[in-house]
């Protein structure tokens, strides 16, 4: 798996949806499935971490807006 920080959240979510679509096939190879399952679970873990542990940074600007510059 490539470095999480380089991939955007969007691309991770797309990748996960592609995996799910693969598993919705009627007939898929069991060997391949085992590998993809592991990839899928890992991806889900990474996305969860990413969503749960990131906070917002709020900064009130020091600049005043009550008078013309």
């Amino acid at each position: 798996m490539s470095d999480t920080s380089k991939k955007t959240l969007q691309s991770q979510l797309s990748e996960l949806d592609e995996l799910l679509a693969w598993f919705e096939q009627d007939d898929f190879d069991v060997e391949a499935a085992l590998g993809k399952y592991e990839d899928g679970m890992k991806l889900i873990g990474e996305i969860s971490d990413r969503l749960k542990h990131v906070e917002n940074k709020v900064e009130v600007l020091k600049k005043r807006f009550d008078q013309d510059v």
């Binding site: 917002n56 940074k57 807006f65």
Partner: protein, 375 residues
């Protein structure tokens, strides 16, 4: 007491000085009449009530909402005598007052801006899907500010929010908000979206968001705008020109970002789905393996059947060809006295008087040859 002798100009100046001292500012409500503009720069009108009337003067840029004859307005003005001794109010601020006048002024400005195409849906830009940098314009003391940030942070993280603290009520509010908009637009790395929020307020307070220069500033913002200024009944002009309008500050947060709790819940479902699908597939494969002995046996037994039948056929053939079967049909075997079969070329050696054996299916005959005739 001796009174100082003044020139006319001095007298005027003195009176104006006194006026300035005594009444630096007057706040007056009255009805507009004789409204006119001059060279599109200067504005003259009277404010009056039943008993009196006063002349007013201002520049057109101070007119933040349209005003016309018959409207009730509130002016903040400085009284003075003009050069020619005319008493005049120099207007600093003017706004329509009362529901009727506010509505009328709003309709006038709305029609004007609509004609200019500022409400055109085609002008509206899409909001960024997952913004990283947000510019927030609000009063940090207001409930709207707190609501917006609370809901935003519950829903999503990883964003940088720069806050421009401004007044959102009162006559100084529009200019402050305009400065904030221009500041964000002028940054070397501007935010991806500007959010303007305010908790609810009175109809008069709404005038801030029907202010013409502010409305134009929002329309002109290169950074897309999302406004959540929290009034249930009416839509303000800022609402109409913003790229997106939210009903309240909380609603603005909902529009701006997805809810990570929803996504986490979906992830849980997706994880279950993957596991289910894999289990199903493995189970199916396992069943196929279990079937293997049975199927193999089925195949073997059908092959055995085929072999059996083939053998039976061959047996029948063999039986038909066996000497016994032939003899049953009436043929006989001819042997010499020694028991050797006499056939083929040996038949030519048979002569009269030889002793032969004839074997039929029923008996063995000992015979003598009386006569031989070769065919």
């Amino acid at each position: 007491m001796e009174k100082t002798v003044l020139s006319v100009s001095q007298a005027l100046a003195l009176v104006n000085q006194t006026l300035e001292y005594a009444f630096p500012v007057l706040v007056i409500e009255g009805e507009v009449s004789s409204f006119k503009t001059n060279q599109n720069k200067y504005v003259f009108f009277d404010v009056k009530d039943d008993g009196a009337s006063l002349g007013c003067f201002m520049t057109i840029w101070q007119l933040r909402m349209p005003v016309e004859d018959g409207m009730k307005v509130r002016v903040v003005a400085q009284p003075k005598l003009t050069q020619w001794g005319k008493f005049s109010l120099t207007v600093r601020e003017i706004l329509p007052v009362g529901e009727g006048s506010l509505k009328r002024s709003f309709e006038m400005l709305k029609a004007k801006l609509d004609k200019e195409g500022l409400f055109d849906p085609a002008r509206k830009r899409a909001l960024p899907q997952l913004p990283h940098k947000i510019g927030l314009i609000a009063s940090v003391e207001s409930a709207g500010y707190v609501d917006f940030l609370t809901i935003l942070s519950a829903r999503w993280g990883g964003m940088e929010i720069d806050v421009a603290h401004v007044q959102v009520q009162g006559s100084s509010a529009p200019s402050q908000i305009i400065r904030a908009i221009e500041y964000f637009n002028g940054m070397s790395a501007p935010p991806e979206i500007l959010v303007i929020v305010r908790g609810g307020g009175s109809l008069e307070d709404l005038a801030v968001f029907n202010d013409e220069p502010l409305t134009r500033a929002v329309a002109a913002s290169r950074v897309p705008t999302l406004v959540g200024i929290g009034h249930e009944i009416d839509t303000s002009l800022v609402d109409l020109v913003a790229d997106r309008r939210a009903a309240t500050p909380s609603n603005a947060a909902q529009i701006l970002v997805p809810d990570r709790r929803e996504i986490l819940s979906e992830l849980g479902q997706k994880s279950e789905r993957l596991t289910d699908r894999l289990s199903e597939r493995v189970e199916f494969a396992r069943q196929e393996l279990d079937e293997f002995p049975r199927r193999a046996i089925e195949r073997l037994s059908s092959q055995t059947e085929l072999l059996k039948r083939s053998l039976q056929q061959q047996k029948r053939l063999l039986e038909q060809l066996s000497p016994k079967a032939v003899m049953q049909r009436g043929y006989a075997l001819i042997r010499s006295e020694t028991g050797d079969l006499v056939r083929g070329s040996k038949m030519t050696k048979v002569k009269k008087g030889d002793q032969l054996q004839i074997e039929t299916d029923q008996a063995i005959l000992k015979v003598g040859v009386n006569d031989v005739r070769h065919k």
